[in-house]
Point group: C2
Chain length 207, copies 2
DNA sequence: TTGCATATCCCCTGAAACAGTGATTCTATA
DNA sequence: TATAGAATCACTGTTTCAGGGGATATGCAA
């Protein structure tokens, strides 16, 4: 009997999955939560085998929650769940210990297959997700380097139209320092001017 | 008896709403479709009172489908349905004849309230959506001015990192002309430098 | 036909951005 | 403890942008 728990901030999704899994032999409904906090609360006194976890939730999101859960309860298997086919998040969630990922628009059969697969220790990706992942890998071949917090701060201010001197004043730094960060941003992200920098930053939500 | 039809490409959402509305007095399940085509097919020989319509679907999306439906069957009330709280789409869908908009993470009560409201001719927005809409209105108050094709061309090249002289060479213009377009872009969009320009452009898909 | 918008072109100035080089301090960690 | 990275600051150029002037031609629409 696989006890399935679900964390999703959308009642209709919880309801829908509940309904899909009802009467499914071998699968038992362990419970549900609409946010990270109540999920963690549940697992203090209870447990489950597989957790279906939405990726985007108010407060702590699925990516983080996944990391926390896997640290506290390494035995619990986590299956990512999202409306969108976003390689970046899929990857992050996998890095944080998820065992697979399915889209909310997958069929009942896929859902059940996925639950069984991850429960037996497999890694499961529905076809579409797999594609997205490889697409993403392709797209992010250049593997965007991690920005430091200072760099992100400066980047955000650049995007808002502040000039180096203005930024310097705003965050109490020398204009030279701001310029250094700016140069580092250009170098790290391998772009040659502000226009490209901001385009890349906005497209990849870098700040 | 309000006959409710749902168009959504996510089985769990259909299932979830079906389950929520089951046993709800005054509401009858008219049917369901997972894409625009089968929705239109259904209404050839059938009808419904309220259509819950997902905004993002493969193929024809909710915004378009809404327009088509309202043209063919003006009497049918359409209630937008989406995971996200995106003012732009909400607005478009309303312009296309929708009677309201709710989020998929709204409660059962909200959902039922919304169905009754739009059925009696009201416009319904769940609280959060209302906020997003006014936020959006605020944001898009300045109603982004239309760019000329030349301006869009220049804008796209700026975003790709080309400098004025390079752009000039690329599209066979004087650098002065390119500069003029650039200045017009800044003026039209009411931004003060390239960073803001590109941010705005990318966020609003201006090219 | 008289505007108006678009598109083109030109000049000047000051302010930023960009590029290259170098240096100090601090902290995390190998 | 030694090293690497982050964060800080500094100087010197060159290039580009931004803002201020104008000017001409064309085509569409009131």
């Amino acid at each position: 009997m696989i006890r399935v728990f679900i964390v999703d901030d959308h009642p209709v999704v919880i309801e829908g999955i509940h309904s899909l899994l009802q009467n499914e032999k071998g699968i038992e409904w362990a419970g549900q939560a609409m946010n990270a906090a109540s999920c963690l609360g549940f697992f203090v006194n209870n447990t489950a085998d597989v957790v279906l976890m939405d990726i985007s939730m108010p407060g702590m999101d699925g990516v983080e929650l996944c990391a926390v859960m896997k640290e506290k309860y390494p035995g619990i298997v986590i299956l990512g769940l999202s409306t969108f086919n976003q390689g970046l998040y899929i990857k992050k969630m996998m890095e944080n210990g998820a065992s697979g990922y399915i889209l909310k628009n997958s069929s009942k059969e896929e859902l059940i297959e996925a639950i069984h697969a991850v429960h037996t220790g497999d890694i499961y990706f529905s076809g579409e997700v797999g594609k997205a992942l490889t697409e993403y890998q392709k797209y992010s071949k250049k593997e965007l380097p991690l920005l430091t917090s200072r760099e992100k701060e400066v980047l955000a201010l650049i995007a808002e139209g502040y000039t180096n001197p203005q930024i310097a004043e705003k965050i109490f730094l020398s204009p030279f320092t701001v310029d250094s960060h700016r140069k580092n941003l250009l170098a790290k992200l391998n772009v040659k001017n502000t226009a490209m920098l901001i385009k890349l930053a906005v497209e990849n939500k870098l700040f």
